[in-house]
Symmetry: C2
Subunit: 352 residues, 2 copies
């Protein structure tokens, strides 16, 4: 398929002039158009780009009853020459189809996902603003639209891409609590998939954490609660002395694009990186003896999210305030690649 195989129905007017790009709330404003591609009993139909608007769906659609829904999170950046760039989109595309397999959904062809995304971004180019911190958040997702209240995979699916302009934000000081009871993923479960159901499962425990004054939860393994696995909806890194640690990906841990990019960048910078599970006991020990220097989350939305302290068994451990933390060094370097302000020697950026 090439771009000519996409039907395009443009909006008669753009709402872009009504958007306050200086005061965006993440994930709440959408661009003028969206991409839709339907899958009917074994065949992907022709993708359509059309005005962003609500769509009709049957009350018995399986997405509502059995949660067949997956998504990706990506960003587009604009450089100083007004060109739009994607960051490692191949990784998101591959992961999307891995999620699809795990949820017994059809895989989306590259021509639909990639060519569709590029065509949509060309149309919405004005929504990607120049300047560091500005980006266009990309949300590809797929839902089971097929009807029927019987617990089995659907016959009909809808793949969509919607776009939301974003500004980098300072989320305030992030304090976290280490999970002692609740969990985000089972062994042999769907924790490694970007499945919608994984996220709502976190809302209630996160609400409880919020009420106690913590913004996020550091998730531990569900069987023993001794291994540190993710932070909120992000992968998590720990710096003990001058070594960075992050858990290996597994059935319980998402293979984050930011996570693996940070690992590669840190290694090239000569930083010692160990990909292994950090135990809660180790973390407490390191916090107490002063060797724990940093904790930070890594994900597409915030890129890097430094954590100022954590709570465990009702004791709060404050992290040191460093002059030049590795978290912010890596964030700066990654952002510079994403915004084409530094040479991309990794070959991660793709021009739209």
């Amino acid at each position: 398929m090439n771009e000519n195989d996409i039907t395009v129905n443009l909006a008669s007017t753009s709402k872009i002039d009504s958007v306050d790009f200086e005061n965006l709330i993440f994930g709440t404003v959408f661009t003028d158009h969206m991409l839709i591609c339907d899958y009917k009993q074994g065949v992907w139909e022709k993708p359509v780009i059309k005005p962003y608007e609500p769509f009709l769906i049957d009350p018995s659609a399986k997405v509502f009853h059995y949660g067949q829904a997956i998504f990706e999170g990506m960003k587009a950046y604009k450089d100083e020459h007004d060109d739009v760039w994607l960051f490692r989109p191949d990784q998101n595309f591959e992961r999307f189809n891995k999620s699809a397999v795990r949820l017994a959904m059809p895989e989306v062809p590259e021509s639909v996902f990639m060519d569709g995304l590029k065509k949509l971004l060309q149309i919405e180019k004005a929504w990607v603003k120049t300047g560091k911190g500005n980006s266009l958040y990309i949300r590809p997702f797929m839902i089971a639209t097929g009807p029927g209240v019987v617990a089995a995979p659907a016959n009909f699916y809808r793949f969509m891409i919607i776009l939301s302009p974003a500004k980098s934000y300072y989320s305030g000081e992030v304090k976290v609590i280490i999970a002692e009871h609740y969990s985000r993923a089972a062994n042999g479960g769907i924790g490694a998939a970007k499945a919608a159901g994984n996220y709502s499962a976190q809302f209630y425990p996160t609400k409880l954490a919020n009420e106690m004054g913590y913004q996020q939860i550091i998730w531990t393994d569900d069987a023993t609660h001794t291994k540190l696995e993710e932070a909120g909806t992000m992968n998590v890194f720990f710096r003990i002395n001058d070594t960075l640690y992050t858990a290996p990906t597994s059935e319980r841990i998402l293979d984050g694009v930011t996570r693996k990019s940070l690992i590669d960048m840190a290694k090239r910078e000569g930083i010692n990186v160990e990909v292994r599970s950090v135990l809660v006991d180790e973390l407490i020990q390191a916090a107490e003896d002063g060797s724990l220097k940093e904790i930070f989350g890594a994900g597409t939305a915030a890129v890097v999210n430094p954590i100022v302290g954590f709570s465990y068994k009702e004791k709060y451990y404050e992290l040191p305030k460093l002059e030049n933390p590795i978290a912010l060094q890596l964030k700066e370097k990654l952002n510079n690649i994403q915004y084409k302000l530094a040479e991309d020697t990794f070959g991660w950026t793709v021009k739209v």
Copy 2:
């Protein structure tokens, strides 16, 4: 609230005459009307009963992205006097709101859930057919309709009830495989909630089991795979000699209405029932020494689903073919109560 607080817009014509009630496929045919009740920023609006039809929803609705979606499964039965009965609807209502809390969704008032259901059933009374085996499957569900691609609970929700006429069906001989790798629930997860996301997580492992010739999976605990927990989307019972065993409810195991009703009925029949985890090793031992007599699933849709054999570590264990299995005795007794053919000494049935 009473029934007068429900807006009713009746369909101009009924499609009931076009339905072949002798050849229903479970969960595929819906009645003329549905109930909708919207929740907007803290307030439940007035419920509406209207023709069953697709509805409009925003592409960024959180149900699509973060899986905030819960449901219940219930049935209505018609007795010989043309009266319609529900079976323990209070249990479904309570469990629905427990699921809501776990998914950080608003609880639905009894006036909306119960009065709404009863009013809807009065309107759809003709869809509940007399005769054992006929029933009207009831699907109350709630989805997050609030927009936004940020992983946090929505501000807008929709509660709905849809109805699907059902016939008891013979599903063929059910062979199962015991899970050695995949799992349905985490400790500290949402396995005890009727959350949509729990079901799609099972589709892929079930597809693999189907390909090997097994209709369902017996789920084990995710940490050790040594404890037998559920069968497919049902609770599971094991009969060893003359004792029935079923796992205790937990964070990983759904508090099934059929499960607890069978426990109560079996006890009253003088059958020894032990609510405790059965170990895989115990099951193999019992299968080998001949003390394993029956395995059956218990759930609303099939009530009781006898299993003819199971596979574990590539070995298949056939169950004995009994003259008068406890599974079918209990099913018959429970059905008789549900269809008002036997006295309901438990007080489980509620007239609509």
